[in-house]
Symmetry: C2
Subunit: 521 residues, 2 copies
């Protein structure tokens, strides 16, 4: 069980078929295989050895695809770097992983040059420049080193060998490197193909960022079925609409915000989107109005809501096309995260790891060959996350009687007040229904009597005069008294967000807890 | 990665849905899970321990399904017994595997009773009677022991633990127990779901014998997608036609002979077969006339030709619906065995394990997580079959430039005459075209000058007067002279067949080679 096996099969059975297309640059599967083998040879010549790390900081491209597989072919581990990071964060990921090779495109070569010159990324021995324009002086030109080398034999790393090191966004602490093995990523690929019923002739557009595990799943799964990959540098509604039309895309994955922009694009009806068989989305809840519009605009397309996390390679649960209906027994089930994917075990547990009855909120736990090996060089954290053989997702949720999983909150964002568990998301949902609220975050703050008290932080419309009392009174009309905020503060700035766009509650909690005992991370 | 995970998931997400139907007996997934857990408890109470073997000798039924999973749940290994064996062969399989528990239905209880009384199956400690009529005195009643027990916890055997021990038919020697692990069978299941694009709502009829790995794949794959299982005791055209119609079957697997009987049934057009999405066949070549008729009778059904072997869990290659066409670039590709399945590596090698160029005949070799652990207690044979990390299938074949694999012959049935490799199947195909030939087998016999000489054994129509010279002359018109038989013998009896219906050439070779050096096995 190893990732490059799928590449070799694709070249064997679809050698003369298109494997990748990036603008006008087309490679067949035979060419892709040849180039990856050559690039791996070049990496070895540059000193890349077994188990070494090769980082990639680039927008989406066919070369991203090649660089990812070449790292494995050469015997090492790929480390995709989030393109939205600040320079110190980039340096942290590169140094924490001790990456020795870095692939970079023109969009990020300057920041890398600066980090490199400042001695902030000393582990990096070689930088490979992926773009077609002039290669900076102290970087290696991608095509030059590739073409100077013969294709080497696959090193055949497999099963429990680490294939990828994916850093998590870090909403709840510093970034951690998630070690995913060949078995993890191959298993997840088959789980995904099964769950999404990806056909053997699928054509996938890489529009979501390739540094994210969700699109890497597309890389691996489409290679598994020897399908066709199409790349655009990043998401824009026009690029995706053109891509679907021009490439007759059948399958892809987007986040709800992207789907929202796509289906509300003024020219959306001018595009021929009829090739689109299925659109999978995840990472954040799908507003009902957006899915209704999407189903209207692309009527023949299936929709799938998938839930997962990097530590699980990532797929955990999915709500398929049968859940995207508005009446009957499955009405609105797309609002759940769906049921356990084939190959994945899911249960809801209490703080002692006992399984909870259906309908009761607890922590979502998962087991399967898709669960990470652990966090890179963080044994204690790994043991804690994987205790008793189950991945503790940190997500609070419940399972209904038919096995559908609903996420309520991050477990770490749960407030314990007077012995009652209060899920901040529930309180936030209530407050959001008050006119004038633009953004809102609910946290627990220290309270002598109750341990924690519910506190709401609200950013309001500048034309609106709602005050603390309005927020509290409004909440009491919607949810139980003990869940309502005891205090409210207002802010003008947008909430602090993680790279993945999630509100960083630990930053909001910090000033309240200074000098108190509660773990803020 | 373990087989019972799929059962638990099916009960979690489709608890109230039909899992199995056998005549009027219907079980939901929750009931199935409960019963399997109870049956496993009963087995443990009867002394069944970790790694113990539990054999099953029965026609197809829902209880076959339960007994198979219960063996694993209880910590052991299931051993399906071919229902067409002679009593000494049954005894050999049971004793070679040292099975301690035997599940048997009414069709085989007498033969087992005799073997038991005669002391021929001393390893068997307990016999569990699966039928509903009166349970023989010294057997345990299936339902009674099941209902006397509470559901036990799954023993959670997984990954490289042996799950099933499948004895091979033995066309080329004595029966060998093929050890298939949890990883092997789970991997094969996902490879199959991917290759056959089995949908999440599939309804499968178990018409092919459940002792065969091909139908066990149906057991495992349909459980993986939490679909629906329907059982008939065994194949008859009427039973399958009624089953497809009554149960709205979407997917199943049959052998070409069965499909032939099905589509030529006089009443076939009276049945509603429109639910049938896909029919997979394998194990022997599909005559063109049969597939043409099948595509005419069930026009909306997809056809897939799959090739595999027990040692590979079994899927290796497949030719999908796109190959079932009669013109265009893919015309007649159904006559090949198709391309490597996702998750499986295939290459054609020479006697030194070097890969051969496309189009050149050699031995078909396979690699992947679906390849057996080895032969039960036969280390030397295992090492030989699995040398250099590849399964040596013993099948001779070639791969065309597009990756399609064509099987030419069993490597052991290849004749080496004057240094030339002659594939007996090619010679047989020529002889079969002569009027009056009912059955034919071509073997190599000792020859001082050439090492081996080509010899044909022919069973002819009793009204026909063809002689040795006719056969040789006819062959020379169709194939190269060195491939033509040098001698022909005629027989009146049908050829000796293995349990799987293959001609036992070693029996035919034996008299010719007595006193000579050639290994007859």
């Amino acid at each position: 069980m190893y990732l490059t096996q799928a590449l070799k099969r694709a070249a064997q059975i679809n050698g003369n078929e298109l494997a990748t297309q990036d603008n006008n640059r087309i490679r067949t599967w035979s060419e892709s295989l040849e180039r990856i083998g050559k690039l791996a040879g070049a990496m070895q010549k540059l000193g890349f050895k077994d188990n070494d790390r090769s980082a990639i900081l680039s927008l989406n491209s066919d070369r991203y695809f090649e660089a990812l597989y070449a790292a494995i072919w050469a015997g090492g581990i790929f480390v995709p770097i989030n393109t939205r990071l600040a320079p110190p964060e980039i340096a942290f990921w590169l140094q924490d992983s001790e990456s020795s090779i870095l692939f970079v495109d023109k969009n990020f070569s300057e920041v890398i040059e600066e980090l490199f010159q400042a001695g902030k990324i000393p582990s990096i021995k070689e930088i490979i420049y992926m773009s077609d324009d002039n290669c900076p002086a102290n970087m290696q030109n991608y095509e030059t080193i590739l073409n100077e080398n013969d294709k080497i034999d696959d090193t055949l790393r497999c099963y429990d060998d680490i294939a990828g090191l994916f850093y998590t966004g870090g909403t709840t602490g510093r970034s951690k490197g998630v070690m995913l093995s060949h078995t993890n990523l191959v298993s997840n690929s088959f789980n995904t193909i099964t769950g999404l019923t990806i056909p053997n002739n699928a054509r996938w557009i890489h529009a979501a960022p390739m540094f994210h595990i969700a699109d890497v799943t597309g890389v691996i799964a489409i290679t598994h079925i020897a399908g066709k990959h199409y790349f655009i540098p990043g998401f824009s509604p026009e690029a995706v609409l053109n891509g679907i039309q021009d490439y007759s895309i059948t399958d892809t994955l987007l986040v709800p915000t992207m789907i929202n922009m796509l289906v509300h694009h003024p020219d959306v009806t001018k595009y021929n989107l009829s090739s689109l068989r299925q659109l999978t989305y995840g990472a954040s809840p799908m507003p009902e109005s957006v899915i209704i519009k999407a189903m209207e605009v692309i009527p023949k397309c299936n929709f799938v809501h998938a839930y997962g996390m990097t530590e699980c390679s990532p797929l955990l649960t999915m709500a398929g096309p049968d859940c995207h209906v508005f009446k009957g027994p499955k009405a609105n089930l797309f609002k759940s995260t769906g049921v356990a994917a084939a190959g994945v075990e899911i249960k809801i547990i209490d703080e002692n790891d006992n399984e909870l009855p259906r309908g009761v909120v607890g922590e979502i736990a998962a087991r399967g060959s898709n669960i990470m090996l652990g966090y890179w060089r963080q044994k204690e954290l790994s043991d804690k996350a994987l205790r008793n053989g189950w991945m503790h997702t940190g997500d609070g949720g419940y399972m209904n009687k038919n096995g559908y999983v609903y996420i309520v909150d991050r477990v770490k964002d749960m407030i314990i007040s007077g012995g009652e568990n209060i899920y901040s998301a529930e309180v936030e949902n209530a407050i959001y229904q008050l006119d004038g609220v633009i953004e809102c975050a609910v946290i627990g703050i220290p309270n002598k009597e109750w341990g924690e008290a519910v506190h709401a932080i609200v950013r309001k419309d500048s034309n609106n005069n709602i005050n603390e009392n309005d927020v509290i009174t409004h909440s009491k009309n919607l949810i139980a008294g003990f869940k309502c905020p005891k205090s409210v503060s207002f802010r003008d700035d947008p909430m602090p967000l993680s790279g993945a766009g999630k509100i960083l509650k630990r930053n909001l909690r910090e000033p309240f807890w200074k000098g108190h005992e509660k773990q803020v991370s």
